[in-house]
């Protein structure tokens, strides 16, 4: 029996290790390609590791392309989108969690419905509208449009977090003489702050990597880094080394944040999505 268990464990470890290897190999490749010189990339057959290590690609990306400007755009757009998203989603999530009103089921279903909408359903009308309002290629325009994907998720996740606060805590505050919104602000928010923070971070990342709206609604002034990388392969050189370098630059902040906040995230995403 013990032997069997050991064999089972060994098999499990084997499969997990294989899965981890498959998960990590592309990152290994991304890094080795980013730190080698351009001409080493175009050898037939391809080399797994190159002899030389050079940071030329990174210097190229940071000094001779507009990637740094795009990253700044991304930061501006994602930050404003996240702030707007939290302002919209927190009250709505709270109301859905706490109040028992008649159309509650309808509203929740509505939120789920909005989560399912494909972006292409709104693409063409928004394209025309933004053109008419002069919001094309502006930071505000794109951050506002990002709310399309962010708000339903944020409402759902924050509702999940608000539900974890026992009603007794609020009732205690109400007895002490607070009004309901006050209770929300002074009592509930501090308790759920870590959870709401992770909602904010998740929303930020949704905006950071969003592509289809960014591709359609920006051209140069407000172009975020997701579009910047996609349009990197140019006419005179397919600078794959630089593309890998910029992919690393784009993905690294996200990964660092993820590592620092893993547990919060996982709680929020799982809680929000499954218990739907």
């Amino acid at each position: 029996m013990k032997k069997r268990k050991a064999a089972h464990s060994a098999l499990a470890y084997l499969i997990l290790t294989a899965a981890v290897a498959m998960a990590l190999f592309p990152y290994f490749w991304m890094i080795t390609c980013a730190v080698r010189e351009q001409k080493e990339l175009f050898t037939i057959p391809p080399k797994l590791l190159s002899a030389s290590v050079s940071l030329d690609n990174f210097t190229y990306v940071l000094t001779r392309t507009r990637i740094p400007a795009y990253m700044l755009n991304s930061v501006i757009i994602a930050t404003s989108a996240t702030l707007m998203c939290l302002v919209v989603a927190i009250p709505a999530g709270y109301a859905l969690a706490r109040f028992n009103f008649k159309s509650r089921k309808l509203v929740s279903s509505g939120v789920i419905l909005f989560k399912l909408l494909p972006q292409s359903a709104a693409l063409i009308p928004l394209f025309i509208l933004m053109g008419k309002l002069g919001l094309m290629d502006t930071h505000f325009g794109l951050s506002y449009v990002h709310l399309f994907t962010m708000v339903p998720f944020a409402i759902w996740m924050s509702r999940g977090f608000f539900k974890t606060v026992p009603v007794a805590v609020e009732e205690a505050a109400l007895i002490d003489g607070c009004s309901k919104p006050n209770a929300l602000l002074r009592v509930v928010l501090p308790i759920t702050a870590p959870g709401l923070f992770s909602v904010g971070v998740y929303a930020f990342m949704l905006s950071w990597e969003e592509f289809i709206f960014a591709y359609t609604f920006t051209s140069s002034r407000a172009k975020p880094v997701s579009v910047g990388i996609a349009l990197f392969l140019g006419e005179d050189a397919n600078l794959w080394g630089a593309v890998m370098a910029s992919a690393i630059l784009m993905g690294l902040p996200v990964l660092i944040v993820f590592f620092l906040l893993q547990d919060h995230f996982i709680k929020g995403i799982v809680g929000g999505a499954v218990k739907g």
Partner: protein, 430 residues
Amino acid sequence: MLSAKKLWSMLLCLTMLCAMVTVGASAAASEPLKVQGEIVVWYSGASESRVDLYEWAKAVIEKTYPGTTVTLEVIPMAELASRQMTACQSGMGPDVMSQPIAATNGFMKLGLLEPVNELMARAGRDLLGEFNPDFFALMRDGDTLYGVPQSRTALALVYNKAMLEAAGLTEAPKTWADVQAYAEKLTQKDAAGNVTVYGFALPGTSGSHIWYRLIPEIWGAGGDICDAEMKTATLDSEATRKALEYYCSFYQNGWAPRSMLENDQTACSQMFASGAVAMTIENVSWIRNNILKDNLFEVGVALYPGMSGTNTAGLGGWNACIPASAKNKEGAAAFINLVTGKEGMEKQLLMPALTEVLAAGDWTDSFYGPYSTMLADHSRDFPAFENAAAAQNVIMNMVQSVLTGSATMDDAIAGANAEIQALLDEQNAE
């Protein structure tokens, strides 16, 4: 009650106003450009000389007009036509667009471009005098001009001299049969049977790259994509069949890279530069900036081989245009003036369009010679499609479906013919 005094004073004011306006208007016509604020410039291709040219122009503008900023944006070639069109149509275009000449006509017809006569006159330029008037053929509406030529080019065949000599080939290929025979001879394999050098590389993706390399073959075989008035599509012809067969033969015989369907011309040229490909069809700028400059190896240049002789290449090159929805037109004009002036022309794209600079240079050696000959004697304009990107995509899909075998040659050509006809119908309906 209107008193006489009031009436006279009103009349006097009105007259003064009219006088001021007339004087102001005529002064404005010859007033120097007011350059301020941000100037957004889009160009394509990040080859060294282009980057140098635009960075130089940016530095000069920012120094001459303190307070202005120039934002340079590089757009990849594959996206260029569609990005520029989408941007202009929706009002988020740049101030200066450097665009391939094939696209300018379409933009002009759709009303997306700003006339440049007046703006350039205010910058002190005489466009028709300084450039070959033929260059404006596709971008003028009567006397109104819509762009300033930057360069004009025609493609030629380039090959690795050392590889040809090693294979015992003394002359450059001159016809289709030659190219195919050479491609076979020049493809090298290692002991295991894997290819180490491909004989001839052609692009399998990127609408514009394929357009420039397939249409001339169709012309060489005696056909065309549409008739001269651009009313009927003539793609469904024996000439197209032959040209398509020739184009795809390299991939099907293993003389072109396996990754052909993923390669645009840039990838092909990169393989040429790194010695993985023996021959390809490329522009003078790319070869000069990436191979000649670093002296990687000796490049041979030959006239573009066609079915039974030299092909007529499609005229390529770049125009600098101002979108009608540009926010800073005067800044744009100042920038264009700099880039297409004598000093700018000397720094940059080949062949320079400014007559003065073109005449001053020596373009007749063994490298530039064939390119000049192609440009002077074997080039013509492509048919002017309004939506050039769409037409190019139709041709690209046709080539890809034959390369992948997902459609028979006849079906692919018939389908493409129908789509080109649809584009022509839409174009003529307005």
